[in-house]
């Protein structure tokens, strides 16, 4: 009797946890959708022209007209933060897309093919992984010159090996499975085996890593912009906005707090979504 009760309590707890995780997934997905909608329709949502300077209104503290205040050029900070979402979020998504696609492609190829070419590419990825990432990105961005696209390329150069190693490891664990052998025996070509049988089975961890990486990449892109190697003026981008406002932290703190808060919230939302996706894709959760 007692054992039965314990079982029913455990099942109920597990169900409650599953429900909570699902709820979190919906909430964080909704928040991400909200952020993406804000970024996509930024130019329609801004209350003022984010690039229009009015030196007569410079450095106004938050008030009813300018909810987040104005910067030293008299530009509305709320408008710039909204507009900055476009540059910051989309460039981060683009970066994660690039590194996950390239890294996964390389990992799939190396894991499936094996041999000398695998060793060679993995040693190259070891070289990239051995470098301090941000330092290398600064060097690459310095060579390529300023601009948000160059910053994306610089970070892409250093970030793909993580996905390559992850995908390769996953491929190695599934490529000797019976269903792959069966596919080979039935005469499937390697491309079909990779894309139809291996890739769908290794997508879970890659998806989780990619989602968790969005926040990290956003921070790194903002870091490059903060150092003057990302977005060029007058583009509204959160990292460069923080850089422009840092000398005013003690005198006009809203100039740096507005974009800083935007980065904090956005990175947190993407990280929480990544965590939740990981929980949802966890085999224990499915059971």
């Amino acid at each position: 009797m007692e054992i039965g009760l314990e079982k029913s309590v455990t099942v109920r707890k597990s169900k409650t946890r599953k429900d909570q995780t699902k709820l979190k997934l919906y909430v964080f997905s909704a928040l991400v959708v909200v952020l993406l909608v804000i970024a996509a329709f930024a130019s329609q949502l801004v209350p003022y022209d984010p690039y229009q300077q009015d030196l007569g209104k410079a450095l106004q503290a938050p008030n009813s007209n300018y909810l987040l205040g104005t910067d030293r050029y008299g530009r509305d900070l709320l408008s710039r933060v909204i507009m900055g979402a476009q540059a910051t979020i989309f460039s981060s998504l683009l970066l994660v897309c690039i590194i996950s696609v390239i890294g996964t492609g390389v990992g799939l190829f190396c894991g499936y093919k094996g041999g000398k070419i695998d060793s060679l590419i993995m040693r190259i990825s070891d070289v990239f992984l051995a470098f301090p990432g941000m330092v290398f990105a600064i060097a690459v961005a310095g060579v390529l010159g300023g601009g948000i696209m160059n910053a994306v390329l610089a970070l892409a150069c250093i970030s793909w090996p993580k996905f390559a190693r992850l995908a390769r490891g996953q491929v190695l664990s599934v490529k000797n499975m019976p269903y792959i052998s069966a596919s080979k025996l039935s005469g499937s070509r390697p491309a079909k085996i990779i894309f139809k049988h291996i890739l769908p089975n290794i997508m879970g961890p890659i998806l989780v890593t990619a989602t968790l990486d969005i926040g990290t990449m956003m921070m790194e892109l903002a870091g490059l912009s903060f150092l003057g190697l990302g977005a060029m003026p007058p583009i509204a981008e959160w990292g460069s906005m923080m850089s422009n406002g840092r000398s005013m932290l003690q005198t006009s703190p809203w100039v740096i707090l507005a974009p800083g808060g935007a980065i904090f919230i956005t990175v947190m939302v993407f990280n929480l979504l990544g965590d939740t996706v990981r929980d949802v894709l966890d085999p224990k959760f499915k059971k």
Partner: protein, 517 residues
């Protein structure tokens, strides 16, 4: 017996407490010169400013030699930028090409050696053999020394020779003592460098200084190129004074009883050189519109927060040939639009940027970030030029020299001290004539060439001033340069610091008058 013991313990405890308090409480005591140590943070000493080290015969390092009290020149400028003797007593112009300078008899180098005519001769000979700008400025043919005087004969007439000798490259150092591996020299100033690096100079008072004993025993000059770090270093007490604080931080120290500020207007001008090699800049209407679209008042009053004065020409108003002696276009966006329309630049596709013959009116604005004002100017013109229909691509990079070399710019904005020698010739010969070192716009004008040639040989002060105004006006009329603002320089220091005063020349900082109370 017990009572005695208690009494003794009490007395001893009291004595200990008094002793401790006396040891801690030095507020009322006065420090001797040797004990006083002055820590000075500055953004102006850095590799990117080409002034590291103390060898005046190397690039702009002479600025550091003079700024930090290691070296002195034969003559100097007062607060009105008028010439005054320093290591020299006086001079006489023998003829158009010959000047005889009489030296003070009481000056010693910091190694105890007397400063004689021979030592000065050797120093100048080393200068013209090694320095990049000095030979062109001074045009020295020969130098002869006789006791405490030197006679300089020039190749050509050099009316501003004495002014040029006030340039920090003219600091007198003992060349026999040489230059150490860490770029240290032996000068005549109130301080002697004990250690020199690219980020810090440690100085000690020169006990045998001819101008009196310095009041502060040690001075440490620290290069702090990040404005926020500099601000916090001053707030935390790590440094006693600073130069080059961000304007946003300056107001933290204004109306604050714990700090004092010494400010003065300088001849450091923020200017934009328009590249005549660029096809779009060759259009006079574009240059005119660019000059009319720069909001100089807004830049000086708002972005520089009042720490600048809107500029008209290259020279500020405190100079007799500067200020409103020259006329320039006023800020007028509507006027700029008309000028461009008349020249055929029209916005056909409605994107706000004008086109002509299928080409967008777009300019590449090259500048650097080590002067905090320049990126602000770039972003300010980016917005105001857009109102006139001109697109601006800003390239703010500290590797700007590569872009200059490649010619990859339409405009180069920089900061430059136009009258470090109190004379206009220096600016013109370095900026507006063929082959001049900083003519980044490749500007050429026959009239300007002729006027500068006259200026080079004119001794009469009034005529020189007239020529300076004429040349500046022609440069402004051609819109070869657009002058945005002059810098107001500020030193911020702890309340007890005295004798540390900003100077319009921008290169007199640490002197024997420096004191800490």
């Amino acid at each position: 017996m017990k009572r005695k013991g208690k009494l003794l313990a009490l007395v001893l405890t009291g004595a200990l407490a008094v002793g401790m308090l006396t040891g801690c409480g030095n507020a009322g005591s006065t420090k001797s010169e040797v004990e006083k140590e002055f820590n000075y943070g500055t953004v102006a000493y850095s590799v990117s400013n080409s002034n590291t080290g103390l060898n005046p015969h190397d690039s702009y390092s002479g600025w550091s030699t003079v700024r930090y009290g290691v070296g002195e020149t034969l003559f100097k400028f007062n607060a009105k930028m008028e010439l005054e003797p320093w290591l020299a007593k006086d001079y006489e112009q023998i003829d158009d090409n010959t000047v005889k300078i009489n030296l003070r008899d009481d000056v010693k180098f910091s190694n105890g050696k007397k400063m004689t005519g021979e030592a000065v001769k050797a120093c100048f000979e080393d200068l013209i053999a090694k320095h990049d700008r000095a030979p062109k400025d001074l045009q020295i043919k020969s130098i002869t020394a006789d006791g405490q005087s030197v006679t300089i004969v020039s190749e050509n007439k050099v009316p501003a020779l004495i002014n040029y000798l006030c340039d920090p490259y003219g600091a007198i150092v003992d060349v026999e003592a040489g230059v150490t591996a860490d770029k240290n020299v032996v000068g005549t100033g109130p301080y002697v460098a004990t250690a020199v690096s690219d980020t810090e100079i440690n100085l000690e008072a020169n006990k045998d200084y001819w101008g009196g004993t310095p009041k502060v025993g040690k001075v440490n000059v620290k290069s702090i190129t990040d404005g926020d770090t500099l601000t916090m270093a001053l707030q935390s007490g790590e440094i006693d004074a600073s130069q080059g604080l961000p304007y946003a931080s300056l107001k933290l120290f204004q109306d604050n009883n714990d700090y004092t500020i010494s400010s003065c207007n300088t001849s450091r001008v923020y200017q934009a050189a328009l590249n005549y090699n660029s096809p779009v800049i060759q259009d006079a209407a574009v240059r005119q519109a660019m000059a009319m679209s720069m909001d100089k008042d807004g830049f000086a009053s708002t972005l520089l927060q009042g720490n600048g004065t809107p500029a008209i020409g290259p020279f500020p108003a405190n100079l007799i040939f500067g200020g409103d002696k020259v006329n320039a276009s006023k800020y007028d966006i509507e006027g700029a639009k008309k000028v461009l329309e008349a020249a055929g630049w029209v916005d056909i596709d409605g994107d706000g940027i004008r086109e002509k013959d299928g080409q967008k009116l777009s300019v590449k604005w090259l500048t650097y970030t080590s002067r905090q004002e320049l990126p602000l100017l770039a972003e300010s013109v980016q917005a105001s030029y857009k109102l006139a229909g001109i697109d601006v691509h800003v390239n703010a990079t500290d590797s700007y020299k590569d872009f200059l070399k490649a010619g990859d710019y339409d405009v180069f904005a920089n900061a430059f001290v136009t009258t470090p020698t109190g004379d206009p010739q220096y600016y013109f010969t370095t900026h507006v004539v063929d082959g001049s070192d900083y003519n980044q716009g490749h500007y050429h004008c026959e009239k300007v060439e002729q006027l500068v040639a006259q200026l080079r040989t004119e001794f009469d002060k009034d005529k020189r001033n007239d020529l300076a105004v004429k040349i500046a006006q022609q440069v402004v009329d051609d819109n070869a340069y657009i002058y945005a603002s002059y810098l107001k320089m500020s030193f911020v220091m702890k309340k007890g610091v005295t004798g540390f005063t900003s100077h319009p020349s921008d290169y007199y900082e640490i002197t024997a008058d420096l004191d800490m109370n």
